[in-house]
Structure formats: structure tokens, C-alpha cells
């Protein structure tokens, strides 16, 4: 019975195994493995240049990893090997949506249109790949109305409903961040990957963001994977934190565990002089272990 509940609990939506990414001579990610639980918020943190966005780009298909396996298991039980799919199919078939560190809006399209573009594949099918829609079949009109309703739903959630008919480029920065999340949600994802959603937000906006993310998880059951520097967001909402430094995992666990992990503190804050020897000793110890296993 206990084993059964244990198995029930361990149900990762995303499994990254031995991921490596090499750019020329630079090993951006080196043998990195982690799992993201279904229905949880997993945060990926680390100092600048640790390789967080590279991990994201590998998961969402913008980079093809040098080595490793990325498995996505949908709620239905279907499995996808993301490293083998082209980028657009990762969203279309595997249902992974993402946002970008530097916001990528369709700035000349209205806010509403941005959300309609996100429902492209659904609407394409409904319009009979354009042909039926061009001839004015009612199926497309029906689907089109539904898509506007879905867009309205997410606009309300992201509190952008007032600006629905304004060009997206006209929105203030914080609203653009929310719009990007709403747009990603309109693709109907099972895993939502957010690349620094709180970057550049003021405290009030990042509080609203926390609420939005928790609402998404609660209401839709979407699992969330996020990269974040803002510790108030990370510690507040994430269930599970993975810490990356120089392309390698240095810590993995609950927010409280990670917060008190000396390696994480050392990575973020550096260590005091007297502790350096200690840390070097630890590292040598670890390397010795590795050497031993290798032999």
C-alpha cells in the first residue's frame, strides 16, 4: 500500500536525463538530469550564465541537445521524446508552451489577436485547413467564436480585458509579461515553461504574477516549469527547486531544503575565506569518489 502511494506520488510530466549541450568548445550543460512532477510548479534557478535558458531551449526544441533524453508524459499517458521533435510540434503535439526571457509579442497585432494566433492549430483544423473556412462553412464560424471566448477567459484571468483591442506593443511591460503567459495558455498546454516571468516587474506586479501562476495550476492542472531570479517568486510558489551552476546540477529539492543548502549559498553568495578550504576539500572528495567509480 505504502509503495503504491509512493508510485502514485512519483508521476513526472517531464523527465530530463543526462542532458548535455555543447556550443563549440563550451559545455553549456553537462550531464544534467531532473524531473518535473505533474501538477507542480518546478523552478530552475542558478546564477547568471548557469545554462538555465539553454535547458529551456532544449526542452522546447529551439536547440537540439548534444546528448541526453527529454521525455514528456502527457496526462493521457502518451509519451513524447522532445529532443526528436521539431520546435513547433513540441507545442502542437506534446503540448509544451513557453514564454521568452525578452518578451516576444506580436506587437502590431491587438491583444486579442495575439491570443487567437496561439489557437492556430485548433482553428486550422476547424477551418478545414483554410479551404472550408474560405467557402464560409459554419464549422469555422463556430470555432472562431469559441476561440474568442477562450481568449476572453484568459484575458480576464490576466486582467487584460480592458486592453483587448489595443495593439500589444502599446501595453506596459508588466502587462506584456502577463499577455505572453495568457498567450501560452491559449495553446492548451500540459507543461508551461516560463523564462523569467517576473523579470522587470515591480513588487506588486510580481505578487499578481504569483497569484496568476497559482491560479493556472489550480484551475487547469497545468504543470509549470519556470526559470526565475526573483527569490520571492521562487520561494513563494514553487513546490520543487532545481539549482544549476556552470551547466551542472548542484541542488535539487524543496524550496526550504535548497535555501539552506551550503552549495547553493556558496554558488550565489560566494564563500568566506576560511570556508574556501573546506569547500575545496569537499570538491576533492567528490572528485575522488567520481574517480573511484570510474575505475
Amino acid at each position: 500500500m505504502a509503495i503504491g502511494t509512493e508510485a502514485m506520488k512519483k508521476d513526472p510530466i517531464l523527465k530530463v536525463e543526462r542532458l548535455s549541450m555543447r556550443f563549440g568548445g563550451l559545455m553549456a550543460i553537462n550531464d544534467f538530469s531532473f524531473e518535473a512532477e505533474r501538477g507542480e510548479i518546478t523552478a530552475l534557478i542558478g546564477p547568471n550564465g548557469a545554462g538555465k535558458t539553454t535547458v529551456f531551449n532544449c526542452i522546447t526544441g529551439f536547440y537540439k541537445p548534444t546528448m541526453g533524453m527529454i521525455t514528456l508524459r502527457q496526462n493521457s499517458g502518451d509519451e513524447f521524446l522532445l529532443e526528436r521533435l521539431p520546435d513547433f510540434e513540441i507545442t502542437k503535439k506534446a503540448k509544451v508552451a513557453r514564454t521568452f526571457q525578452n518578451i516576444r509579442m506580436f506587437s502590431g497585432l491587438t491583444v486579442l489577436e495575439n491570443l487567437l494566433v496561439a489557437q492556430h492549430n485548433k482553428l486550422m483544423r476547424a477551418s478545414g485547413y483554410t479551404i472550408l473556412g474560405l467557402l464560409g462553412f459554419p464549422t469555422y464560424r463556430e470555432a472562431s467564436r469559441e476561440s474568442i471566448e477562450l481568449a476572453r477567459h484568459w484575458l480576464e484571468k490576466a486582467s487584460l480585458i480592458e486592453r483587448a483591442d489595443d495593439p500589444a506593443g502599446d501595453l506596459p511591460y508588466g502587462a506584456q509579461r502577463r499577455l505572453e503567459i495568457a498567450r501560452a495558455m491559449c495553446t492548451g498546454p500540459e507543461l508551461l515553461c516560463l523564462d523569467e516571468p517576473a523579470a522587470g516587474l515591480n513588487p506588486r506586479e510580481s505578487l499578481a504574477l504569483n497569484e496568476l501562476l497559482q491560479e493556472i495550476r489550480r484551475d487547469t492542472g497545468t504543470s509549470i516549469l519556470l526559470i526565475e531570479h526573483d527569490m520571492s517568486v521562487v520561494m513563494e510558489i514553487s513546490d520543487h527547486v532545481v539549482v544549476l551552476e556552470y551547466g551542472q546540477k548542484i541542488s535539487d529539492g524543496t524550496p526550504d531544503f535548497v535555501k539552506n543548502d551550503p552549495k547553493v549559498i556558496a554558488a550565489y553568495l560566494g564563500v568566506e575565506d576560511e570556508e574556501v578550504d573546506e569547500v575545496i576539500g569537499e570538491i576533492e572528495e567528490i572528485e575522488g569518489e567520481h574517480g573511484g567509480t570510474r575505475q
Binding site: 521568452f100 509579442m105 506580436f106 502590431g108 491587438t110 494566433v117 492549430n121 473556412g133 501560452a184
Partner: protein, 461 residues
Amino acid sequence: MANVASTTASAGSELTARALREAVFAGLITLGLFVLFVGLKSDQNIRNELILTQRWGLLAIFVAVAMVGRFLIVVYVQPRFAKRKAAKAAAPDVVKKDTFFTRQWPKIAVVMLLLYPPVIVSFVGVQGSLKWVDNFGIQILIYVMLAWGLNIVVGLAGLLDLGYVAFYAVGAYSYALLSSYFGLSFWVLLPVAGLLAALWGIVLGFPVLRLRGDYLAIVTLAFGEIIRLVLINWTEVTKGTFGVSGIAKATLFGIKFDASKDGFAALFDLPLSSAYYKIFLFYLILALALLTAFVTIRLRRMPIGRAWEALREDEIACRSLGINTVTTKLTAFATGAMFGGFAGSFFAVRQGFVSPESFVFLESAVILAIVVLGGMGSLTGIAIAAVVMIGGTEILRELTFLKMIFGPAFTPELYRMLIFGLAMVTVMVWKPRGFVGSREPTAFLRQRRAVSGSFTKEGHG
């Protein structure tokens, strides 16, 4: 009251004094500038000696023009501009009222176009209408259609295509060759020409999928030239530079436009004239152009049209939303090319003769210029631009009074390109986003508000 009046009067006299002062300065500068250029002229007299001719009268005119001009600018033009600027700043948000005309004008324009041939015929007679219907009506509508077709590729999808004329050529030669070799009719070959052009659009699309911006433009330019060179050099089929002549005319439900007994003129008991055929062609190209507009408007509200515009705005974001950018780009190329093909086969049936000379790079440039000048993505703006550019250059031929001014040797047609270029520069300075720079959203929740041109992107490949 008196006080106010006196202050305005004193302000007025102050202005006049300043204007007079500036006029004197302008006069002095003009005098200094032109005294040696205009006032004195070196000349040869009858004995081949160098002499100085004095032209004080002319110099005086120059100076007077400068002084009067400066005076008028300071007293009238500058205050008026300042006043207008102040008025604009005072009332920044003037909500434009939707009048009947602004709402219904596309329909009004279509009705006017439908009535155009009968009105022209009633004014200048059947024979006289030839020039106005053919040179103006048909010519402009061909370019409207071509520019609307290119608008799908450049304006909506943001893919800069400098070789659009290639698809026009494919359409024209498809009709010319298939009709002269196999005797197929125009109505069969019109869709065939469109499909063949679309096929070539996809053929062009594949190699350029990964290219952006300048690189894309160069490759499409090369593609246009390749098609033209093939047409020139494949002499067994295309007859090279001689071109294909004697292309069959189109028929109206099987009625031919010729002198035969069951021809159009004989059937309706009308005098034999080529004008009827031209009027028929006018309605044909009008229908084709309206089809292009209708399909474009419909497509913009469909997922594929939105994907095109999204592609123009940000390709990477498109991919992150599950949009297959490969098929999206290819459909844009194919759809644009298809309308180019339709227009091409119409061109062949109208001219009765096609040769590679009609499909040079300049044509691509003109079509692209119309799209840019009209405002990328806007059907209305593009139609206006086509009327201005093509109609404008045609009307230059009519301006015979210019000969009276510049002498009988002046041929206005030769200055076409000069004026064309000047007009483009002027419009681009005055309206950098084209005649209609704003974008109509394809869906709205509460209120349809045009998106200002400053937010839309031009696309980058």
C-alpha cells in the same frame, strides 16, 4: 478692448518690421550670391572676343523675388503654420466621425468602377472610350491586382519578394503557350495558369525558407531573372525574344469578339469595334481584382492569415505557439504567386502577344513600390497607390500642354521615371508608412480600432 486692439496692432507692426528687415537681408544675400552668376555673363562677340554682358534687370528680378518671398513667408506662412501647430497641440484627440462615406466607401468604389465603362462611352463614344478603358482602366486594374497579390507575401507575411514578376510571366506564358500549342480556351487556362504560378511559388519558397531580409530579397531577385532568361533562351518552346504572338482572345460564354457571323458585334447588332472587347476585358480584370481582394480579406480573418501577420511580427514566437512556419511561408508564396499567375494570363489575353521584355525587374520594382507606397497590408492604400503611380504616369502622356511650356521637343513620357521617383520620395517623407499606414484588426471584443503603423513591423525575411 482698445488695449487689446492696440497690442495686436503693435504685434502686427512688429511682425511687419521684422519681415521687412529679413526681406532686406534676404535681398542682400541674393545680391551677393548672384551678382557674379547672373549680373555678369561672359560671352563671345562676333569677332570671337570675350566680352562681359551686363544683366542688371535679371539680377533685380532675382533679388526682388527673394525679398518678396521672404517677406511673405515671415508675414503669412510662418504664423499660419505656427497657428496650425498650436491648434493641433490644443486638440490632440479628435475622434474621427464615421460618416456614411467612410463606412461604405469600398462598395461605392466598386459601383463607380462598374459604371466606369458606360459613363466613358456616353461621354466620348465607343471608339473614344478605347483609350480610357484600356490604357487607364485595364492597365491600372492589372497593377492593382498584382500589387494585392504581392501584398500577401510582402505586406502580410513580411517576406520581401523582388522577383514577383516571375509569377506574372509564368501565368502569361502558361496561357500563351498552352493555348497556342493545345488550343485550350482562356477559361480553362486561367485556373491552370494560377496553379502553375502557385507551384512555382512553392518552388521558389523552398530554397528561401531559411533566408531573411536582404538575403531573401537577393534570391527572389535572382529567381525573377532566371525565369526571364529561361523564357529568352528556351527558343524552341517560347520563341525567345520574338515572343509568342497571335494568342487567342477570351470569349464571353462562347461568344467570340470578332467579325464572324456569330461574333459579339453581329449578335447584338452593334457596329464592329474592338472597344467592346476592351470593355469586356475591363470587367474581367475588375472581377479578378475583386476576387483577389475578397480572398485576401477572408484569409486575414482565418488562422492562416493571422499566422502570416504573426510571422511578420515575430517568427520565433510563432514557432513557440506551434505554428509550422515552413508551410505558413510556402502558402504565402503560393497564394501570392497564384494571383500573379491569374494576372499574367489576363495580361496575355489582353495583349495577344507576350515576350520576355514585359517581365523585366523594373516591373517587380514598380509592383513592390505600389505595395510600399500604399501601406503594407492595406488594400485601400495599395489601390490608391496603383491609381497614382500607374494612372499618373499614363496621364503624363496626355499632358500635351507641357510641350507649350518646355518646347515641342519635350516628351513627358521620358520624364516618367523621374517624376515617379520624385513622387515616391515625397510620399515617403510625408507618410513614411504609406498612404494607409494603420492596420485593421481582424477580430475585436468591444471596439474595432485601427492599429497605428508605429507598432506593426515590416517583417525581416
